[in-house]
C-alpha cells in the first residue's frame, strides 16, 4: 500500500500551542478547521452522550466500596490493592495474557496464510470468501453453545474424530484440565476470529500491484523472500489495524469463556471480563468489580499506544 507523502499535523505546526495557532491561522486554515469540526461533530456527540458518563462513572465506582444498590464510601485504591493480593485475580491476569497472545498470533498466522492462498486462487474465490466469513457472522453466543456441545465429554464429536484418526486411545476432556480448557477456549476464539484477519488481509493484498511481485521474482527472490521482503512490509499498515482490533477484542473477551467454562475448572480460564463480572454481578461487589474490569485498561492502553505509534510512524515514513 503506497502512502502519498503527507505532513502530520505536528510536522505542519512545530512548537505552536493550539491557541496560538488559532490566532495565527490564516483564513483558509480556519475554514479547514471549521470543516473538520463539522465532520467530527456527529461522532463526538454520540460518544459524549453515551460513553463519557459510563466511563467516568466506572472510574469513580472503582474507588468506592459500593455493593449493588448501595453507593458506599470512597476507599481510594483499596479495591485495586485487594485485587493485587487476590490469588484468583493473579491467575486471571496470567490467563488473559496467555489467551490474548496465543490466540492473536494464531489468528494472524492462519489468517495471513489463508489470505495469501485465497489471493492465489483463480476460481471459487468469492464463494470461499463468503463461506469463511460464516464463523464471524454467527452470533457468538450460539456458536459457542455449539462448540460446547462439540466439547461435551460424553457426546463429543471431536472425541470421535480424534479417536478414529488414531491420535488418542481414550477420550480427551476438552474443557476439564487446566491446560486443555485453555487450549479449547483459544481454539474457539481462533476459529471465530480468523476470518476477520483473512478477509481484511485479503483486501489489503488485492491492493498490492502484481508488478512489484513480478519484479522481485525477476530479481531472483524465491517465494519465501518475496513474502518477507515485499508483501509483508506493504501489508503492515492493514495488519497493524487488524491486530489492534483483535487484541482489544480478545483481551476483553467475555461471552466465549462465560458460556464454555464460566471461568472453570478451578479458575483456569477466567479472563478479566469474566472475573470482573463474577465479582461485580454475581457477588454484588460493584466497586471491586469495576476495579477488576478497569484493571485491564492500562494494559490495553499501552498496547494501543504502541500500535498507534507504530501505525503513525509508518505513515510519516
Amino acid at each position: 500500500m503506497s502512502t502519498p507523502p503527507q505532513e502530520t499535523p505536528r510536522a505542519a505546526a512545530p512548537r505552536r500551542g493550539p491557541l496560538r495557532r488559532l490566532r495565527q491561522a490564516s483564513r483558509t486554515e480556519r475554514r479547514e478547521w471549521l470543516f473538520a469540526g463539522c465532520l467530527l461533530l456527529p461522532a463526538l456527540t454520540m460518544l459524549a452522550l453515551f460513553v463519557a458518563y459510563p466511563f467516568a462513572r466506572g472510574i469513580w465506582l472503582s474507588g468506592l466500596d459500593s455493593t449493588l444498590g448501595r453507593e458506599g464510601d470512597y476507599v481510594g485504591l483499596r479495591n485495586y490493592v485487594k485485587l493485587w493480593y487476590d490469588s484468583i485475580f493473579r491467575r486471571t491476569a496470567q490467563n488473559t495474557f496467555v489467551y490474548t497472545a496465543i490466540a492473536t498470533l494464531l489468528k494472524l498466522a492462519l489468517g495471513m496464510a489463508v489470505a495469501l492462498m485465497l489471493n492465489m486462487l483463480v476460481s471459487f474465490k468469492r464463494l470461499l470468501r463468503a463461506s469463511l466469513l460464516l464463523p464471524w457472522i454467527i452470533p457468538t453466543v450460539l456458536s459457542t453453545l455449539a462448540w460446547k456441545w462439540m466439547f461435551d465429554p460424553t457426546f463429543s464429536i471431536l472425541n470421535w474424530i480424534v479417536f478414529h484418526l488414531g491420535f488418542v486411545n481414550a477420550r480427551v476432556d476438552w474443557l476439564g484440565g487446566p491446560v486443555a480448557a485453555m487450549v479449547s477456549v483459544v481454539l474457539v476464539n481462533v476459529w471465530r476470529g480468523m476470518p476477520f484477519f483473512a478477509i481484511t488481509l485479503l483486501a489489503g493484498l488485492q491492493t498490492i500491484s502484481p508488478d512489484i511481485q513480478e519484479a522481485a521474482a525477476i530479481d531472483g527472490a524465491n517465494a519465501w523472500q518475496r513474502f518477507w521482503r515485499v508483501t509483508w512490509p506493504l501489508l503492515m499498515p492493514v495488519t497493524m489495524v487488524v491486530m489492534l482490533f483483535s487484541v482489544i477484542q480478545t483481551f476483553a473477551d467475555f461471552q466465549l469463556v462465560y458460556i464454555l467454562t464460566g471461568g472453570g475448572p478451578a479458575n483456569s480460564t477466567h479472563l478479566f471480563a469474566t472475573y470482573a463480572y463474577q465479582i461485580g454481578i454475581q457477588t454484588g461487589k460493584l466497586g471491586e468489580g469495576a476495579a477488576a474490569s478497569l484493571a485491564m485498561f492500562p494494559f490495553l492502553f499501552l498496547v494501543v499506544i504502541f500500535q498507534l505509534w507504530y501505525i503513525r510512524r509508518g505513515e510519516v515514513r
Binding site: G262, G264, P265
Partner: protein, 438 residues
C-alpha cells in the same frame, strides 16, 4: 359474585376447591375485594413487570402465566411476565437495582436476595402471612430470603435433588439398595466404574449441581465454612479434609472423569445416554426419560444423600420473589405475590412441577403429589436436612460471595486436578478468610 369466579371454581376439582375456600378465609385482602366485586382502584395503564427464569418444567410456566393473566384481568392491570435463562437473571437484577428501573418483581435463585437486599422492599407482611397460613417455613428457603433481620424476598420454591441411579446396574454389582453411607457409596462407585458405568459428578462453574454436591459432602463430614458467629472461618479442620480426601479418591476410583467441565446439564445427558449409572440431580432427568427414553425410565430410581459421620445434609437451590424498590405499585406487587402464593393457585403450580419443586412451607408435606410415583417419594424429605451456604453461620452476603466465587467447588476441583487435599484446603480456607475478614 362475578361469573368469572364461578367458572373458575367449576374448573377445579373438589378437593382443591375446599382448600381454596380455606385459603380465602385465611388471607383477607384481595380475595375479599374480588368476592365483593369492587372495582379495582388502579389507574388505567398500570403495569407490573415480573422477571423470572424459564422453569425447567415448561408446563409450570404455562400455569403461572395463566394465573398472572387472570390476576391482571381481575385487577384491571397489565402483568408482563418476562422469562429469561437462569444464568441471565442476576445480570438483569443487578442492572435493575443500579438503574432503579426495570422489572418490578424479580424471581431469583439461591442466596441472591442477600446481595440485592438494598434494592428490595421489605416483604415481611406477606411472607409472614403466607408462612402462617401454610404451616411455617422450612429453614433453607427462609435463610435465603431473610437478610439482616428482614424479609427481602418471599420464598417461592426449593428445587429438589437426590441421587438418580440405574437399579439393574446396581443389582449387577450386588446392590439391592442404594448405600446409605459415604463409604458404601465409594465401594459401590468402584464396582460400577470397573464395569464402565461410573458415578457422575459435576465440578465446573455452574450454579446448581456442583454446589449441591460439594456443600452436602463437606457438611456430611462435619466440615463448615464458619462458626455459628458467621465470622470465624473453620473450614480447615479435620472434617473437610476427610471429605476432600474421600472425594479425590472417588474421582479416580468411582467417577466419570469428565466431571471437571460438567455443568448442570451434562449429567442429565450422560445419565440419559447410559454412560453413567449414578448422578445427583433434580428430577429433571426422570420426566425426560419418561417421554423419550423408556428403557432408562423403567430402570431408574432415586435415593437420598448418604450419611457422613456428621449426618445427612443437602444444599438445594431455592427460588424467591423480590419486590424492587423502584416498583411504583409495591402494594399491587405484593398482592400479586399473595395471589399466586395462595394455596389454591400455588397447589396447581406445584402439582404441575411434579416433585421438581418443593414448597417452602410445611403444609404441603402430605400432598398426594409426593406419593403419586413411588420413585419420587424421596424428594419430599430432602428439605428437612437442607442447610444454606454459610452454615453453621447464618446465611449472609459473605456466604453468598463464597458460593458465587465457587470456593468450595474449586477446592474439590483443585484436589482432583492434582493438588494435595491439604493444599487445596489451605487455599480455600485462605480465600474464605479474605471474604469473611473483609
Amino acid at each position: 359474585m362475578s361469573g368469572q369466579r364461578a367458572r373458575q371454581t367449576a374448573g377445579i376439582p373438589r378437593r382443591t376447591f375446599l382448600k381454596a375456600a380455606a385459603g380465602t378465609a385465611a388471607l383477607t385482602g384481595i380475595p375479599g375485594i374480588l368476592a365483593a366485586g369492587q372495582a379495582p382502584a388502579y389507574a388505567k395503564g398500570t403495569k407490573l413487570h415480573y422477571l423470572m427464569q424459564l422453569h425447567f418444567v415448561p408446563a409450570t410456566d404455562k400455569v403461572f402465566m395463566d394465573q398472572a393473566a387472570e390476576f391482571g384481568k381481575q385487577m384491571g392491570v397489565e402483568i408482563q411476565v418476562e422469562r429469561i435463562g437462569q444464568n441471565d437473571v442476576p445480570t438483569r437484577a443487578a442492572a435493575a437495582v443500579e438503574m432503579k428501573s426495570g422489572p418490578d418483581l424479580i424471581q431469583i435463585q439461591n442466596n441472591f436476595p442477600h446481595l440485592l437486599a438494598d434494592g428490595a422492599v421489605d416483604v415481611g407482611d406477606i411472607a409472614e402471612a403466607i408462612g402462617k397460613a401454610q404451616g411455617g417455613y422450612y429453614d433453607l428457603p427462609k435463610a435465603n430470603a431473610f437478610s439482616a433481620g428482614r424479609w427481602v424476598a418471599v420464598p417461592h420454591d426449593v428445587l429438589s435433588w437426590a441421587w438418580n441411579y440405574r437399579e439393574s446396574w446396581l443389582r449387577e454389582v450386588g446392590y439391592e439398595k442404594f448405600p446409605d453411607t459415604w463409604e458404601g457409596f465409594r465401594e459401590m462407585g468402584k464396582k460400577l466404574k470397573a464395569k464402565g458405568r461410573p458415578v457422575g459428578c459435576a465440578f465446573g462453574h455452574s450454579t446448581n449441581d456442583p454446589n449441591n454436591y460439594c456443600y452436602a459432602l463437606t457438611w456430611g463430614f462435619g466440615g463448615y465454612e464458619v462458626e455459628k458467629d458467621g465470622k470465624t472461618v473453620v473450614l480447615d479442620k479435620k472434617g473437610t479434609l476427610e471429605a476432600l480426601t474421600l472425594n479425590t479418591a472417588m474421582w479416580k476410583e468411582a467417577m466419570d472423569e469428565g466431571g471437571l467441565s460438567w455443568d448442570d446439564a451434562s449429567n442429565n445427558r450422560a445419565f440419559l445416554s447410559g454412560s453413567i449409572s449414578v448422578t445427583g440431580n433434580s428430577p429433571s432427568i426422570y420426566p425426560v426419560a419418561r417421554d423419550k427414553f423408556p428403557d432408562v425410565y423403567q430402570d431408574m430410581n432415586h435415593a437420598p444423600m448418604p450419611k457422613g459421620p456428621a449426618g445427612r445434609f443437602y444444599q438445594l437451590p431455592t427460588v424467591s420473589v423480590m419486590v424492587m424498590k423502584h416498583c411504583k405499585e409495591p402494594k399491587l406487587a405484593k398482592e400479586f405475590i399473595r395471589y399466586f402464593m395462595a394455596k389454591e393457585r400455588y397447589e396447581k403450580w406445584f402439582e404441575t412441577a411434579d416433585t421438581f419443586a418443593i414448597p417452602p412451607t410445611k403444609i404441603w408435606y402430605d400432598h398426594p403429589v409426593w406419593v403419586k410415583d413411588r420413585k419420587n417419594v424421596v424428594f419430599r424429605d430432602v428439605i428437612k436436612d437442607a442447610r444454606w451456604p454459610g452454615y453453621a453461620g447464618p446465611a449472609s452476603r459473605k456466604a453468598s460471595e463464597a458460593m458465587a466465587k465457587y470456593i468450595l467447588v474449586d477446592m474439590y476441583a483443585k484436589a482432583i486436578q492434582g493438588a494435595s487435599p491439604a493444599e487445596a484446603l489451605k487455599w480455600a480456607a485462605g480465600e474464605l478468610r479474605k471474604i469473611y475478614g473483609a
